[in-house]
Amino acid sequence: MKLLQKPVSSRNDSEGRVDLPPGGFHMLKIYGLFALVSVILCAGCSAPSDDVSDTTVSPQEMVVNDLHKMNDYTSPSVADFDLQNRNLFSAIFGGENGAALRTYLDARIHYYYTPSELASFRSQPADFIHKGWYTDAAKQTVFGAEGKAVLGAANIGTQLWLSGLVDQTPVTVFAEDRTIPVSDSRVGLMLIGPGYDAFIHATNGNDYEVPSGYRQSILLHEARHSDCTGGISEDDLNVLRMSPNAQWTDANFKDRECGHLHTYCPPGHDLAGKLACDDLAWGAYAVQYVYVQATINDYVGADRAIMEATLADLRSRLLFDVDDMMMGQMGAPDMSTSGVHQ
């Protein structure tokens, strides 16, 4: 797949314009960054690959396209949803239209990079000391257990920030013309991989264009990982420092709303053992669920079928009573972010 060699930045993009700064990065060890992504926000991901479906549309071009479409979004579906659901869409995204969605997204995601670009990043530090907390116990390495990744998207900024806190060291990412201090959870570094798909190849031999709203929902999901809701305590940072593996982290780390970290799907679940479920309300899957649920009536035909599959998948990953959450019995969505507290 042809990939643009320029990172997409949306920082300070109040009018929906997408800035394409010059690219090209110095070689250095980036797999430390991928390793972080591979566990808490991206369980099971292996070494990223650019070698996927044969299209002429790069993931970055799709991001640009999707952000523009998000800007323009307006639909009575969302207002109807809000009327029936205590204004939940507005409570989460700050409004009912595309401008609100962009504001939500741009507060949390600022840079969109491909695996190729990440592979040429330089970072300080180049590696982290404490790696147990994000390393899956079932894997000798974070790469390789399940073949080549076709990663769609992952918010790596939050994990870099957490890793810096755990190691008690400031983290900085260097691009050729850009220095990105990883100073808070909303640093907004997003990996856009080949799995950020444009097409579904159906059994009838046809390729169906995936609706932009599907990919937009992934961006909104990833953006939620930028929120360290409620902050993180020194005690919990100590838990991360002593953690031997990601499973132990999952069982003992209390502040999982900081980064809205996923949990392992429990025994008996279709995805048992995968770090691909949420057991806390208003996490990344729940935010994505609300977006898809609110907008699904905009779609017909195969687009609708794709959004239905997405909604079914999301619902299956929410381990609590979703109706309770939607009815407010698990509290209102807290969309704030914070840092370290005592």
């Binding site: 926000l41 991206c42 369980a43 099971g44 991901c45 292996s46 299209t55 002429t56 549309v57 799709m62 396209n65 523009h68 479409k69 323009d72 979004y73 257990a145 399940e146 073949g147 080549k148 990663l151 998207a153 799995g195 950020y196 798909d197 097409f199 579904i200 159906a202 059994t203 009838n204 031999g205 046809n206 390729d207 169906y208 264009e209 995936v210 609706p211 709203g213 992934i218 279709d270 995968k274 691909a276 669920y289 649920q293 009536n297 779609y299 017909v300 195969a302 687009d303 609708r304 079928a305 794709i306 239905e308 599959a309 997405t310 909604l311 079914a312 998948d313 619902r315 299956s316 979703v322």
Partner: protein
Amino acid sequence: MMRVLWLPLAALIGIGAYLAFPSRPAPVDGQRVEYSPGTVLPDVKTKGPGPMAKGQSESPSAFGPIASAARVPVAALMPSKEALRADVGRDPHVTPKALLKFSVDVYNKMAVAKANETAAKDLIAELKTCALDRDGAHSVQALCLLNAKRLANQYPGFAADYHSLEGQADPQVLKIMSSLPL
């Protein structure tokens, strides 16, 4: 005599033309795109989905790929749990591609069944098998149940079959389905 010969000749020409140029349904709504290696895909910057306008729909040809795919039973289209888990293993942040593909495959079968009650009868039986498959993933079963309900709504004769099916479905499947607007 000429008239007698003309009919089989025309039929032969038609069959030959079909074999030489198999029909492919044209993209009628700007959403479905066909391509083969070497074909340049449409520019998504200028074309492509935002939410699709209501009222637009696909009208699949009675012949060609959609119809032939419609003959593949749902059981053969269902992704296994292992397939879903493998997709999630590769990327936990997106809907398993196998599930997206299945949803489009079922959509194509539904398009045929909505136009033909006999096909609908066959399909609702297949959807029942899918929805009750003990080895099936809940998300897959929910999509089958949802589409069975749609057929029951369109063809009231299937309502009893559907209600029976709903009564036998796994509670987790019913919960997922409750999130899916009809």
